[in-house]
Symmetry: C2
Subunit: 198 residues, 2 copies
């Protein structure tokens, strides 16, 4: 095709969930089928890039100094749920099961990928827990070795000496599923997390 077309494909292809074919489809859609959508998309991308930043308190996406959740005084200010990524926060919000505050680490400890404590949004977590000590901190990190290590680090270092109740979310068989198709690590988590009937 044309050089500008190839460049557009190159910019679209690495986006999550897209490949060569879907990038081509989207490019043709914007250039041939619905050209009116092209300036709209460019504008939305520019506006998002211009206005969206990290919340200075929790690391969530924000358009002001504080994000919507940190500015919402109807939420429980005594609880902080620590998540790896913004999508994790979105998942909790979608579930409607949590009404406290969040803290987004923007990753988890992963020495293999060169991600140490300094790469994570940890110092801000330590600071806010000193400034306004929460009653509880829920670590909602992944059920894997890196999530485990990150939880351990937070407990031992970031929140060392904090009077808050620190917990980790439960792991086991997901809703609607059974033992047959669960992988060994899920089964191990589920056994460990068994609750007594008596």
């Amino acid at each position: 095709m044309t050089p500008a077309f190839e460049d557009l494909i190159k910019a679209l292809k690495p986006l999550p969930g897209l490949g060569a074919r879907s990038a081509e489809k989207i490019a043709l859609h914007l250039l041939v089928e619905k050209p009116a959508r092209l300036p709209k998309l460019i504008n939305a991308l520019q506006e998002a890039g211009r206005h969206i930043r990290r919340c200075g308190l929790c690391g969530n996406l924000a358009e002001h100094e504080k994000c919507n959740i940190c500015s919402d005084h109807t939420r429980n200010q005594d609880s902080i749920c620590v998540v790896e990524q913004v999508p994790d926060l979105v998942a909790f919000e979608r579930s409607g099961t949590y009404r406290g505050l969040y803290h987004v680490l923007h990753g988890k400890l992963s020495p293999v990928n060169g991600i140490g404590p300094d790469e994570l949004n940890l110092s801000l977590l330590a600071k806010r827990c000193i400034d306004h000590p929460p009653y509880e901190i829920i670590l909602a990190l992944s059920n894997d070795i890196e999530g485990e290590a990150t939880c351990h680090y937070i407990q031992q270092h970031t929140l060392a000496g904090s009077p808050a109740q620190i917990s980790r979310i439960g792991f086991g068989i997901p809703s609607g599923s059974g033992v047959t198709y669960a992988d060994p690590i899920t089964l191990r988590s589920a056994l460990k997390a068994r609750t007594s009937y008596t």
Copy 2:
């Protein structure tokens, strides 16, 4: 989330192959995970919108008056393959089975959707066939009623009186497939298109 974020989701969601979840993933990717990709994508979209237009001869994507294919004098100038959309042309090019010229209609006749002959790139097809009469015209339109009607219209009106050999591409069982899973219309096409062994 934030208003600029919601607007970006709204601009991404209607793109082909994307939905609410994938739009959210891409937005977070561009804003949080790989922010360096955001200006690159904006630039590629702007450049594509600025430079890409329709080829004045065949309707393909072009950055100049004529597209790469129409400007390529090593290609067979006596054959025109008529396709519905640019992706159809791309599919032929990818297959490497055709070395003639193309003509892109940008649609097919569809009274239900308000697409009549005037909405298609037909007058340019008539004109080029008078200016430089090709030896053959291959109608590579869909195997459906609308494709059928478009072929009929082209033969009866657009190319009426043309001395060119007009044909329609073959239909039937696709490569690697068999009769068991073929739908009734494919089977009808395949029966009609049977070739004699003797």
